[in-house]
């Protein structure tokens, strides 16, 4: 039982630490991004540097990180659907929307990472494509489009990549539940 209380204490600590907005930005790259792109919000997520930016400058931030901050590689880009979240860590200054585009950058010369997150409203699910800055964004952006229906403006070939070309719906959206398409057998009266 002693273990349990100790663990609960830990959790409370973590939550209060999240609520207090750090006035000094610990990460130098994040500080530079916040200075360069007004309106951006820095967040310390479990020791990892995260910057919430306006979606209009999503690609500009990538360009800035690549050109000015020696971020040589886009490690990953993906989308999250927050439609059914029970609780969400909210940083002051960020206007939260249903979708989020998340880009993880890696700098080989400086051996550090940074994560850039843009909010995407459900009414207009689109975000600038990073393919003009990092060609490696081509596949993951197609995947994000395929799974979430978020369009990446400026992507040359935004087609479905994992699902069949004639598929309707976006499987990883929270309002597209698993087993939405019923399983049919030969001889069923209404095959799909």
């Amino acid at each position: 039982m002693a273990d349990d209380t100790a663990r609960e204490d830990n959790h409370e600590d973590a939550e209060t630490a999240v609520d207090v907005h750090a006035p000094v930005i610990a990460d130098e790259v994040a500080a530079a991004v916040v200075e360069q792109f007004p309106g951006s919000v820095f967040a310390d997520s479990h020791g990892q540097a995260v910057v919430y930016v306006d979606r209009a400058v999503f690609a500009d931030v990538a360009q800035y990180l690549r050109a000015e901050q020696q971020f040589t590689m886009l490690a990953d880009i993906t989308v999250v659907d927050h439609l059914l979240d029970g609780a969400r860590v909210e940083w002051p200054g960020v206007e939260y929307e249903r979708f989020e585009a998340i880009a993880n950058y890696l700098s080989h010369p400086r051996n550090r990472r940074i994560r850039v997150i843009a909010q995407i409203p459900a009414a207009d699910p689109s975000v600038p494509s990073l393919t003009s800055v990092f060609r490696g964004a081509e596949f993951p952006e197609r995947e994000a489009y395929d799974m979430f229906g978020v369009t990446f403006d400026g992507h040359q070939d935004l087609t479905r990549i994992l699902m069949p070309d004639d598929w309707h719906g976006f499987p990883l959206r929270k309002d597209d539940p698993a087993a939405r398409v019923p399983i049919t057998f030969n001889g069923d009266p209404h095959p799909r």
């Binding site: 039982m1 590689m73 990953d76 999250v80 081509e138 994992l162």
Partner: protein, 431 residues
């Protein structure tokens, strides 16, 4: 045969049917449209579009390549994927954190420990816990063993693809030693589900040291054999040297990691630079070469096996005593013996395996070096027992983007060698 014979006359003479009109390019265009590709709309001329796969033995599963050919020359290659898509990221949202490792272990089925590890690390990061030292060393040993198994699988299939058929049997023979060890430690040859949030599933069994050394001996002996068989083999070199060249800049632009990046002369290994396990306490080298061709990628994977064996040997020597999983009853199950005598242990066991544990809200991205490159896990939690999003950054998925720069200006036979040298695991590509 007379010298001034026209092509039509020659055909007339050689065939019963005589000269025939070549079919128009419209058939080719039709293929293009249904493929969902982005070939240009203009006249295709004499080139031909060929689909290789998805049912092709040398495409490593169900990879389909659209190739534009001019005779035997490949002008362009485009990979078409999704034939093995089973919605594993969606499944990951349906499973609790305890069950999650059973799901991710089936993604990169050739090196499953890397998947389990990156998933467990992401959960641990969100929980703000850290596995005890012994668990970390066990993880490191099993991951390196799995790197050996994965690279041996590569040697086997790569040999078969390029034409060294006996290589397939040799590679499988040594890989089997590793898989037997997995079975010995975890109970399963593949998809072990051994590394779990908070530590590992069970402690190492009796005699694990001796057997680990035996596996290393066998594998090192095998590697020497492959080295002798292939590295200086003129036929092998003919097929691989200078084929499928890619530069460092192309790799970085296209988010390509792992042995492909290291083959271009860029010595980047997350085990050295951003280690999440005690890799700084073992002695090993990062293998890299400068040419970026199929031959270099073969050599890198060959010698990386030896480095992994070195790490496994050091793990055997330096393995610390202690817990193999964290003593937090909300995260890891109690020992089986405790369940019979303790009410709390029974309750914890029951709760853990029915509803799992809850993870505080947050998001994190964790990356480690899998045999194929950077495998990452982006996990979002909303405070419930299931992740909101469990995204795996599969290195094979990104590495497949290397086919385009590698495959331009090659031959059809080289395309097979190039795909093989990328070493994609389709379970991870399509997830």
């Amino acid at each position: 045969m007379t010298g001034n014979e026209t092509e039509e006359e020659r055909l007339e003479r050689q065939t019963d049917e005589g000269a025939q009109e070549l079919r128009s390019a419209s058939r080719t265009r039709e293929l293009v449209i249904t493929g969902g590709g982005m070939w240009p709309e203009e006249e295709l001329g004499d080139t031909m579009i060929i689909n290789m796969g998805p049912q092709h033995p040398s495409t490593h599963g169900v990879l389909r390549l659209m190739m534009e050919l001019d005779g035997e020359d490949v002008l362009r290659i485009k990979p078409v994927i999704g034939y093995l898509h089973t919605g594993m990221e969606k499944t990951g949202e349906e499973l609790s954190y305890v069950q999650g490792t059973t799901n991710v272990t089936r993604m990169d089925y050739a090196s499953n420990f890397a998947n389990e590890l990156v998933y467990s690390l992401a959960v641990e990061k969100l929980l703000d816990i850290e596995a005890p030292p012994r668990a970390q060393w066990i993880r490191m040993m099993m991951c390196e063993m799995s790197r050996m198994a994965s690279h041996l699988l590569f040697q086997a299939t790569n040999g078969m693809d390029i034409g060294a058929i006996s290589m397939m049997l040799y590679g499988w023979r040594e890989r089997e030693e590793c898989l037997r060890y997995f079975e010995y430690v975890t109970g399963l040859r593949m998809n072990c589900n051994y590394i779990r949030p908070g530590g590992v599933a069970a402690d190492l069994p009796d005699g694990w040291r001796e057997r680990a050394i035996e596996v290393c001996d066998a594998v090192e002996h095998g590697i020497r054999e492959y080295d002798e068989l292939l590295t200086q083999n003129p036929i092998w070199r003919e097929r691989t040297v200078g084929i499928g060249v890619i530069t460092t800049q192309e790799c970085l632009d296209r988010s390509i990691t792992g042995p492909i990046l290291r083959s271009t002369g860029f010595a980047w290994d997350l085990r050295k630079s951003q280690a999440t396990l005690p890799y700084d306490e073992v002695d090993f080298d990062v293998i890299y070469t400068a040419n970026g061709d199929v031959y270099d990628r073969y050599r890198i994977r060959l010698y990386e096996v030896l480095e992994s064996a070195k790490i496994v040997r050091q793990c055997v020597e330096k393995m610390p005593e202690g817990d193999f999983r964290i003593q937090d009853k909300k995260v890891t199950p109690p020992p089986r013996a405790r369940i019979d005598e303790s009410m709390e242990a029974l309750i914890h066991h029951f709760k853990l395996f029915t509803e799992g544990f809850k993870v505080p809200p947050g998001e994190t991205y964790v990356a480690i070096e899998s045999p194929r490159g950077e495998i990452g896990c982006y996990m979002v939690s909303d405070g419930s027992g299931r992740p909101v999003r469990m995204h795996i950054r599969g290195p094979s998925f990104y590495n497949l983007q290397a086919i385009e720069p590698m495959g331009g200006d090659s031959l059809v036979a080289d395309a097979v060698a190039i795909v093989s040298s990328i070493d994609p695991i389709m379970g991870e590509v399509d997830r």
